[in-house]
């Protein structure tokens, strides 16, 4: 089975976000970069599928040279090869265009399944998987919490608001992953894994290598653009309900505040 996993390198979730002076970008100079946590679930799911069915796991990502580190981590976890699309022309491309490049890179691997995180913890748009599936004309199974495959069909379970759905389709299928570590607890890279990863193939490609026209990716071709960023208003720390009250006194006071001041109960 040819398994492709698409990953993105994002700031660590503990990062404090600061804005650049132009208010259009965030300050990235002191950021710790990680593999987007949901994409890590996708890597884990891919490795488990490979362990069951055999095949290869290819990880594909995009961005600057720093992304090599994320790809090497995925290789150390057990992926077989990696592709980085690094083209300065992509820097300001919108979702549709970036995804078009990812589709081109994925197609070269002739995949049976593509796995990707349900969203990235930076832009939080959660649409790359769905766009990929649409561009490929494949079914998209979102937020899988279980995967079964006999090599011909794939069956997944996924949560919806207040319930659960079981879906089935013949391959190829694109699957996205969300939720928490409880389901797809990603493995750590072992020391031998890290050593091996250094020798695994990692190809760096430009848009033209993928048969794409860089002119289509220029900023003036974007269908949508960010005009400004802003930080949320600082929440002012509220009051500590105390006043020398005992436990039940504090409970009474809190209920009174929620009813009369906040009016939320």
């Amino acid at each position: 089975m040819n398994i492709v996993v698409i990953i993105k390198q994002t700031p660590d979730t503990e990062t404090v976000i600061r804005l650049a002076p132009d208010n259009k970008r965030i300050v990235t100079s002191d950021i710790k970069w990680i593999i987007n946590p949901y994409d890590e679930f996708a890597i884990e799911a891919a490795l488990r599928l490979k362990e069951k069915h055999g095949g290869t796991v290819t990880v594909i990502s995009f961005g600057a040279q720093r992304v090599v580190e994320a790809l090497r981590t995925a290789l150390a976890m057990g992926a077989d090869d990696a592709v980085l699309i690094d083209d300065p022309q992509m820097r300001d491309a919108d979702f549709l265009r970036v995804t078009r490049a990812l589709v081109a890179a994925a197609k070269e691997k002739n995949p049976d399944v593509i796995f990707i995180g349900s969203r990235t913890v930076d832009y939080d748009q959660g649409q790359r998987g769905a766009i990929l599936a649409e561009m490929l004309g494949w079914p998209h199974f979102a937020l899988a919490i279980s995967i079964e495959s006999d090599g011909k069909d794939i069956t997944i379970e996924r949560p919806i608001e207040g319930g659960k759905v079981t879906l089935k389709a013949p391959l190829p299928v694109l699957v996205t992953f969300g939720g928490s570590h409880a389901v797809w607890n990603p493995r750590y890279a072992s020391l031998p894994g890290i050593m091996k990863a250094k020798k695994k193939p990692l190809a760096v490609k430009k848009l033209t290598d993928l048969g794409l026209d860089p002119a289509d990716f220029s900023p003036d071709q974007a269908r949508i653009r960010i005009t400004s960023l802003e930080l949320p208003p600082q929440r002012k720390a509220g009051k500590i309900v105390d006043g020398g009250l005992d436990t039940s006194g504090k409970a009474k006071e809190l209920v009174k505040l929620l009813r009369e001041e906040a009016r939320v109960i």
Binding site: Y123, K164, I240
Partner: protein, 328 residues
């Protein structure tokens, strides 16, 4: 004539989901600002009977595709049908819910009609020149971004549930109905099972009140205390990542940057210290209450009301007090 604003509805179990009314109300506001009408595209099985009711929330006309094949959302069926109807309507803007299904639908629809979707929008403004700008939270709300679409591109946006005000215009207002014609393709994927939780449990992302427990809960069994209080308040029960990683609660209950981002009217954080990644998931709640025995816990810097107490003493007292309130 000016182009209409269009919404895409979400229908489940014989009725429109509440978020559809929120989207309709926001659509009406945008249509009024543009001086144009509001239409809806409604797909479902048996949906015709309910469609006219969308008029209550400001929809002027509903394009209905009513077919047994549309009982459950499947992208392979819904996306081509909706794209075809949109092509016929040529709307000024398209809004849909940022629900689990709506997120998938919106992204695929955008790819199909070559418009970039903006997902999870929390605010829309219409300029004097009629240009639409929208804002969404990045980094789970640590930062907000304003966006606009290129000239000639109709904005396509999904609206985060529980943010927009529902505006009931007139209980008796009816929308005009038109059966839309679009071929319904056979999907590659099929729904094997569709299990809805009928316990009446409130979904986290749609709850008005959430009570979350963290590491301080110490054990899975202690969540019964939160469940009891939640039942009194009609609230949903959430959990921090620490609690979920400990196996005390299912991952579907996790609130935070790597869980669900929630925005209830009231969020009660119990035994949660307030890691950045948790604060990112609930910092947008209207009112926050923190219960923690550690007075240095970062959660207190975000809380409107802080209670420095052992949760095992305080929770029973609070539940008691809420019961008294309900009986009075």
């Amino acid at each position: 004539m000016a182009k209409d604003v269009c919404i895409i509805t979400e229908y489940r179990n014989g009725d429109f989901r509440r978020v559809t009314h929120e989207v309709a109300s926001e659509g009406r506001r945008i249509a009024d600002a543009l001086g144009t009408g509001l239409v809806a595209i409604a797909l479902g099985s048996g949906i015709s009977a309910k469609a006219a009711d969308l008029g209550k929330y400001g929809v002027d006309k509903v394009y209905v595709v009513d077919d047994p094949a549309l009982e459950y959302y499947l992208a392979g069926v819904f996306v081509p049908v909706i794209a075809e109807v949109i092509k016929q309507l040529d709307p000024a803007a398209v809004l849909l819910p940022a629900s689990v299904d709506g997120r998938d639908l919106g992204a695929r629809l955008g790819a199909r009609i070559n418009v970039t979707l903006l997902q999870d929008v929390i605010e829309v403004v219409v300029g004097d020149d009629g240009r639409i700008k929208a804002r969404w939270p990045m980094f789970a709300g640590k930062c907000f971004a304003w966006c606009e679409w290129a000239d000639g591109v109709p904005p396509l946006l999904s609206i985060r549930p529980n943010i927009m005000q529902t505006q009931l215009l007139d209980e008796n207002r009816k929308a005009e109905i038109e059966q839309a014609s679009a071929p319904i393709p056979k999907p590659r994927a099929s729904v094997l099972k569709y299990e809805l939780d009928t316990s009446g449990k409130v979904e986290l992302t749609e709850a008005e009140i959430i009570i979350s427990g963290g590491r301080g809960m110490k054990d899975a069994s202690n969540y019964a205390m939160l469940e009891e209080l939640a039942a009194q308040l009609g609230a949903a029960v959430g959990a921090s990542r620490a609690a979920v990683d400990s196996g005390w609660r299912p991952h579907s209950d996790q609130v935070g940057q790597t869980g669900k981002v929630v925005n209830p009217n009231l969020y009660i954080a119990v035994g949660i210290s307030g890691a950045i990644q948790h604060l990112a998931g609930m910092g947008y709640s209207k009112y926050i209450v923190a219960v923690n025995k550690d007075s240095d816990a970062p959660i207190f810097s975000k809380a409107d009301y802080g209670i420095i107490e052992d949760l095992f003493n305080f929770l029973p007292a609070l539940t008691e007090e809420i019961k008294n309130l309900k009986n009075s």
